[in-house]
Structures are given as structure tokens and as C-alpha cells.
């Protein structure tokens, strides 16, 4: 290689040592992947659907008298169903992102998905909390109305404090890191996508 401009990159490139793992290793990984891949999705679904089923059971078993109780139940279930639907759709989008696209299309898809994830964590979570809080407050009214005033205030007070604690402390703490990660990812993907435009 006397000529500086004639470095044989192709030759160097292909000399990289490569070890092809046995195909049985790969097949084993495929099996494992199939089993664990959607565990999180299933867990969330089962948990929220289970809760909804339990609430529905309460409705039929205890036969609440007040319309507020029924509206409350509907709101709580609605909150969970909306959350689940968006969550499932988003995760499905992410898992099934069409792999056979050009890099450019793929990057744009990634950006869209990350932006939706962002929406889910902010706006949708807020809606979920509002529906849940209103639902629970309405639901409790029938039972609180049978309590003494002090007990009723105590019951509402504890419930609302718990919701506030969740919304103002646990939720921001959990999402702050994720939010930062998603935002920096969106930025990064946009930057990479930009490389193709220049």
C-alpha cells in the first residue's frame, strides 16, 4: 500500500473476525423472546381488567342505590379502558414497527412513536387521574352519606390526600426520568434523520 489514497478499506473490512453462533443458540433465544416479549403488556392488561371486573362485580352484587355511585363506577372503568386501549395500541405499534422500510421512513416512524409515548405519559395520564379521582369521589358519596359528618370528611380527606400524593409526588418522580429519556431520544432520532436530508 504505497499510495496513500488507495487504502483497501474493503479488504480491511472483511478481515474483521466473525464467529457465527450455532443456530441452535439463536433458536433458543427466539423461544425465550417469544415467552418474555409481551409479559409487561399482559401484566398491565390483566391488572387493569381485573380491577375493572372487580368493580363491575361490586356493582352487581351490592346494587348501589344512588346514580352517583353508578356514574362513579362507569368513570373509573372508563379511565382504565381508555388507558389500556392507548397503551396496547402504542406498544403494538412499537413491537410491530415495519422493519422492512428504508432507514428514512423507519426513523420518521420512530419519531412519531416516541412523540405518542410522550403524549401518553403527559396528557393521557392526566386524563386518567382526573377520571379516576372524580369516579372514586362519586362512588364514595353513597356510602359517605350514611356515615357521620366527621367520618365522611375523614374518608374523603384520606382518599383525596392519597390521590394528591400520587399525582404530585409519585407520578412526577416516576415520569421525570422517562420524560427526559424520551425527549432526548426524539432529539437524537431527529438529528439522525436530519443527516439524510443534508
Amino acid at each position: 500500500m504505497d499510495n496513500d489514497n488507495n487504502i483497501d478499506f474493503k479488504d480491511l473490512w472483511k478481515k474483521q473476525s466473525v464467529s457465527q453462533p450455532d443456530i441452535t443458540d439463536l433458536l433458543a433465544r427466539i423461544n425465550k423472546f417469544k415467552k418474555t416479549g409481551l409479559r409487561c403488556l399482559w401484566l398491565t392488561n390483566i391488572l387493569l381488567l381485573g380491577t375493572s371486573a372487580f368493580i363491575a362485580f361490586v356493582w352487581f352484587y351490592y346494587q348501589p342505590q344512588f346514580i352517583s355511585t353508578k356514574i362513579g363506577i362507569v368513570l373509573v372503568i372508563l379511565a382504565m379502558v381508555i388507558y389500556l386501549m392507548v397503551y396496547n395500541k402504542l406498544l403494538g405499534n412499537y413491537k410491530n414497527i415495519e422493519a422492512n422500510q428504508t432507514n428514512q421512513e423507519y426513523l420518521q416512524n420512530l419519531i412519531v412513536i416516541k412523540k405518542k409515548q410522550n403524549f401518553m405519559q403527559t396528557k393521557l395520564m392526566a386524563l386518567y387521574f382526573v377520571l379516576l379521582t372524580i369516579g372514586i369521589c362519586l362512588y364514595m358519596y353513597e356510602y359517605a352519606s350514611r356515615m357521620t359528618a366527621w367520618m365522611a370528611i375523614l374518608t374523603y380527606g384520606i382518599t383525596l390526600l392519597w390521590m394528591l400524593f400520587n399525582w404530585l409526588y409519585i407520578h412526577p418522580k416516576q415520569t421525570k426520568k422517562q420524560q427526559e429519556k424520551i425527549n432526548s431520544l426524539i432529539e437524537k432520532f431527529e438529528e439522525v434523520n436530519h443527516q439524510l436530508e443534508s
Binding site: D4, K15, I30, N100, T102, Q104, K181, L185
Partner: protein
């Protein structure tokens, strides 16, 4: 084409593409495996609209782009790569240097030059990346210039 046959034919090439992207032997091995998992999942949906090579390289390069996400989660350590000798990955310095230089390029350039070095035709590269052929040609030219420059600076010829 049978999956096993695809695996045997393409593993080395896909591995090198991933290696050019991350310049980390283990990470590249993982990325290549992930690629073949996707290939295995999607093989049924492959229609002969494009050549199977284009199809697989698209999947592989997209998977490389997707893993940027994981990188953020596990920031790369600054330790020099290939520290461990027992792994049999100790390479000639020139090869190591080439992969290092490529992994330092902007992400899409890494993909483009890796495909070029894999002897993929420029019109196929254009179809994989989503650029015009003319654009790809210009980019390859520039990247090669950049690499040559780096090799010169480093005294690696």
C-alpha cells in the same frame, strides 16, 4: 429461502454491519442476533419485491438505528474496546482502527459505508437507506475521503 440457509449466508455480513455501527464485539453480536430474530419472525411476509439481501439489510440497519435507544439507557463506558485478549477479538490494529473510525461517523454514514464495503450496489444502498442513488454516491465518496484522511493522520497506511 430457508431460514437456516439465510442465517448461514448472511450472518457474517450482518455482523460486520452491526460492528461498524457500534464497534463493540458483544453489542454487535447481540444486534446481529436480534436482526435474525426479526428475519425469522417476518420471513413469511417477505415477498420478492426486493432482493432478499436488500430486505435483510434494511431490517439490520433499522435495528441498528433502533438500538440508539438502548445506548442512551446504558451509556457506553469510555474504556478502550477489545481489552480482553481471551476473547480472540484482538485484531490487527488497522482493522480495529477502521471499525473505530466508522463507528465515530454520523449514524447514517456508518450504515452507508458499511453497505458499500459489503459490496452492495449503490442503487441497492439507495433503496435500503431511502436516498437517491446520486446522493448515495456523493456520500460514499465523502466518507471514503474522511476515512482516508483519518488513516493518514493516524499514520496507518
Amino acid at each position: 429461502m430457508e431460514f437456516e440457509q439465510i442465517y448461514k449466508t448472511y450472518w457474517d455480513r450482518i455482523f460486520r454491519l452491526c460492528m461498524g455501527f457500534v464497534n463493540d464485539y458483544d453489542a454487535a453480536q447481540d444486534l446481529a442476533q436480534e436482526t435474525f430474530i426479526i428475519v425469522w419472525q417476518k420471513l413469511e411476509t417477505f415477498r420478492n419485491e426486493s432482493s432478499i439481501g436488500t430486505w435483510i439489510f434494511r431490517i439490520a440497519s433499522n435495528n441498528c438505528l433502533k438500538q440508539i435507544e438502548k445506548q442512551k439507557r446504558f451509556p457506553k463506558s469510555e474504556l478502550p474496546v477489545h481489552l480482553s485478549e481471551e476473547k480472540l477479538t484482538s485484531l490487527e490494529p488497522q482493522i480495529q482502527f477502521l471499525y473505530k473510525c466508522i463507528a465515530e461517523l454520523p449514524e447514517t454514514d456508518r450504515i452507508i459505508i458499511s453497505l458499500e464495503l459489503e459490496d452492495i450496489k449503490q442503487n441497492e444502498i439507495a433503496k435500503i437507506v431511502g436516498l437517491s442513488e446520486a446522493n448515495v454516491r456523493v456520500k460514499i465518496h465523502r466518507i471514503k475521503e474522511k476515512l482516508t484522511q483519518k488513516f493518514k493522520e493516524n499514520g496507518q497506511r
